[in-house]
Amino acid sequence: MNRLLASLFLVALAWPAAAEPRGTGDLGIVIERAAGRVAVVDRAKVARLATVEGLGDLSHAAAVFSPDERFAYVFGRDGGLTKIDLLTATVARRVVQSGNSIGGAISEDGRLIAVANYEPGGVRVFDADSLELVADIPATERGDGKRSKVVGLEDAPGNRFVFSLYDTDEIWVADFSAGATPAVTRFTGIGRQPYDALVTEDGRFYVAGLFGEDGLVLLDLWHPERGTRRILDGYGRGEQPLPVYKMPHLEGWAVAGNLAFLPAIGRHEVLVVELPSWKQVAAIPVKGQPVFAMARPGGRHVWVNFALPDNATVQVIDTETLTVADTLTPGPGVLHMEFSPRGDRVWLSVRDKDEVQVWDAASRRALGALPADKPSGIFFTSRAHRIGL
């Protein structure tokens, strides 16, 4: 009884409003990667509500949300998959499902969580309630006894997961529409070293960036029978690539009207392509190697952050004039940006200042900051309702 009382007391401490019913639409999490924990935040109040500890190595951690926006699934670097209850700020379930992993996705129906693994290379799929293993999809062997690393794992309509095999130059589609045993379609020889990917907001296209070649690969998920095709082929042809001190990220990519904005690799440019032709129409010179190019919801601007040595800067691109409209300096180590769902505010993690900054996205003024220990990814619950996030 005493123990029960004590634990109730602890819950009350962790969550002062536990007795009050509340929604989760304003909530989010911030990854504190060195400390292996996440902060539960309220983006409307700009408040840090609670801390959830014990999540292992969170370098390069990412998260997805359950359809009811109550649970966050956090993918750690060390193979950890942790289900966090945002209402109680506690770990609801946790499994260490591989030795080394790189992000994941939630299925269209919200019942499956897929994780991309480096070691052993492949994808493992779990029941979203229990985190019990549903399916294991080993990647292609690469010739040295190991299997290819898997990257760019995305959800797609029809309860499909789409992902890329970094070492063996493939894209696979795992279709779970018929149940727990997926139908897997393999596209081979797609281009060298796919390193990350995105699914467009309408769920139609899967686009993988290539590290080993200048270009991207497009798969039309309405017509997978047509196979993959190359886009932006040879976008930097003839130029010596610049060193890339942080790999660009394609998820959270930017689309504004009929234009899409993508980070170039080895070029200090944001590439602009026209949809649905996927032809390049411009390359916007920017301060450094872009990491994320993210559209403010509504598409009026695209915010871009950078790799070393330019990671103290954020640039804002005007999507009408295709020029840099503003250069901001939030501070060293800007790792991630997350917009409020209607785009009025943007949160920036500024790692080397140990803070998360909140900016007004229209006036581009800093409104405030929350302390956070080496913050990296910021994820708001509104992602629950976006295809490909």
Partner: protein, 99 residues
Amino acid sequence: MLRLSMLLALIALPALAAEPVAEQRLRHLLDHDCGSCHGMTRKGGLGLPLTAEALDGRSDDDLAYVILNGVPGTPMPPWAPLLTPGDVDWIIRELRSRP
């Protein structure tokens, strides 16, 4: 003599209490920037593991060459524009010191 040893102790104290700024910068870079590909625990990711065990059998010269010049055909970039050879020596010592 006593005064000299006290003076030496005073000089040594700050060094014991806190790592020199240059080393802090390098440790930070190693943990976070190297760590984004090689893992904060150095067990590998997109890049190879960098634990002392994993690096056993590779010479300091070999490691310094890789760090300064990168590995063509892989995402490992040349760090020569951002690091001095002295920085690289420190990083290699640090990598070898941790299991």
